[in-house]
């Protein structure tokens, strides 16, 4: 699969998904432009992570289409999905490091499985990526010996080690102290600038959203209800978005 040149790297059209008859997504239309950082905001449990997993083919939609480089991934075979995922990097909420492997082995795993690079070159690249996320001397440590913030940074190094075209971040700042959250936000920006990647971030942390976003989209009741630049979001008249951004208990969104 070649890297395309079209304006949109990913497009979702009418994506719907229900779990045990409970609708989570009810018709999501979303275009992700090449090179942009899109932040999807929404309440906890509104289906943001489910949306991310649809983009990567980890979950198949009940209805609708998902395009990657203008190809409908819902029709892909498993083999083709795996090929597509070589262009993806993903940072999971808890880092999702393999706890039977050391940090170095975790980051090196994609290179070992999918390239024919020698050990020296793999080691060089892994150390390079670890440095990029601000970690040194952790190569031989196990994930269990590390803090949440460090795990996320290792997860990030692993996500970008194969030079992906697009990186997805699932709640990158959740569970981190404000300083570490800012470090991660900075990394998301730096990676986008240095590696020229498209980024999709899902979060409910508005501070993080303003810091990293080129564009913010809000997911509410299974649909994208608003999409615009951070400035537009700040000035918005949309009552749902306004309530979420201001973090108010009063408004159309009922706290459950």
């Amino acid at each position: 699969m070649e890297r395309g040149t079209g304006k949109h790297i990913v497009r979702l059209s009418g994506v719907a998904k229900a779990f045990e008859r409970k609708p989570v997504l009810t018709g999501v239309d979303l275009d992700i432009a090449r090179g942009e950082t899109l932040v999807v905001i929404g309440r906890s449990g509104c289906g943001k992570s489910v949306l991310l997993k649809h983009i990567t083919g980890l979950i198949a939609p009940d209805a609708g289409e998902i395009f990657f480089e203008e190809e409908d991934i819902t029709r892909f075979s498993r083999k083709k999905l795996f090929q597509m995922r070589m262009h993806f990097g993903m940072l999971f909420q808890g880092g999702a490091l393999f706890d039977s492997l050391t940090v170095g082995e975790n980051v090196a795993l994609p290179l070992r499985r999918h390239t024919t690079l020698g050990e020296d070159e793999i080691c060089r690249r892994v150390c390079g990526r670890l440095e990029l996320v601000g970690l040194t001397d952790v190569y031989n440590r196990y994930p269990a010996e590390m803090s949440g913030g460090m795990k996320k940074r290792v997860g990030l190094a692993r996500a970008v080690v194969m030079d992906p075209a697009i990186v997805l971040y699932d709640e990158p700042t959740t569970g981190l102290d404000p300083i570490m959250a800012d470090v991660i936000n900075g990394l998301i920006r730096d990676l986008q600038r240095e590696l020229k990647i498209t980024s999709v971030v899902v979060t409910h942390d508005m501070k993080s959203a303003y810091r990293v976003a080129d564009r913010i989209a809000m997911l509410y009741e299974g649909k994208i209800v608003h999409s615009g630049t951070p400035e537009e979001v700040r000035e918005t008249a949309n009552p749902v978005l306004r309530q979420f951004v201001e973090g108010s208990a009063q408004g159309p969104i009922t706290p459950v």
């Binding site: 490091l97 706890d99 795993l109």
Partner: protein, 263 residues
Amino acid sequence: MAPFTLLGRFLLELVQEIGGLGILIWRTTQLLPRTFANARAVFQQMDRIGIGSIPLVCVTSLFVGAVTAIQAAYQFHGYVPYKFIGTVVGKSVTLELGPVLTALVVGGRVSASIAAEIGTMKVTEQVDALEMIAIDPVEYLVLPRVVAATIMLPALTIFSDFLAIFGAAVVANISIGVSFHTFETGLKLLFRQQDLVGGLMKTFAFGYIIALMGCYHGFETRGGAEGVGVATMKAVVASCLLILISNYLLASLIFRIIFAPSS
């Protein structure tokens, strides 16, 4: 709730379960040619599943052999000469006790550990992470475990057969007063190679079942710590039940058809 609703739900779940298991079996079978590419992982699992189970198999087999000798002597008393203790021990150990009890104790240990490991990986999104770095979790996690268990169970059973017979011989000698020579004569009296081979043939299936149940229930884990507990329990229950059921079916196949007694 109406009985039909309950029945419907039960059937739906059953179909789902069989379907899921069928898909896993199919995908694992398709990946068998990749075994050599994953040789390192296979050896690692052979070590964990096989070598790691040796202490458990040792204790189980020695005591099973010992109790078989005691029970044989108790039932023979006054009717059958004790020189036949070796005969009955040899037959029962190689045909049933060795294969089935090894499978049950190893099954408990191994399917629980596989289900807990994969279940934890599932709930901490490590399985999704594998998918995202374009590594097939079936190839990376299931294939090495299934191959290793299928190879190691027969090996453990051979070991178990010997130890159980040894345990029986020692007990027959010490507490029943049957000399090693008499025990050996009895053992050889009606021994047929096909008993040993037939018993071992079953264990390939047992090993496969143990690893498959661990993997399947691991992948089916939902929720958090509680989900991992449920998955582990289901894996152990399913592997034990399937071992006992398949034991009957395989025994019918092997000893009534393949090695059918000539009339």
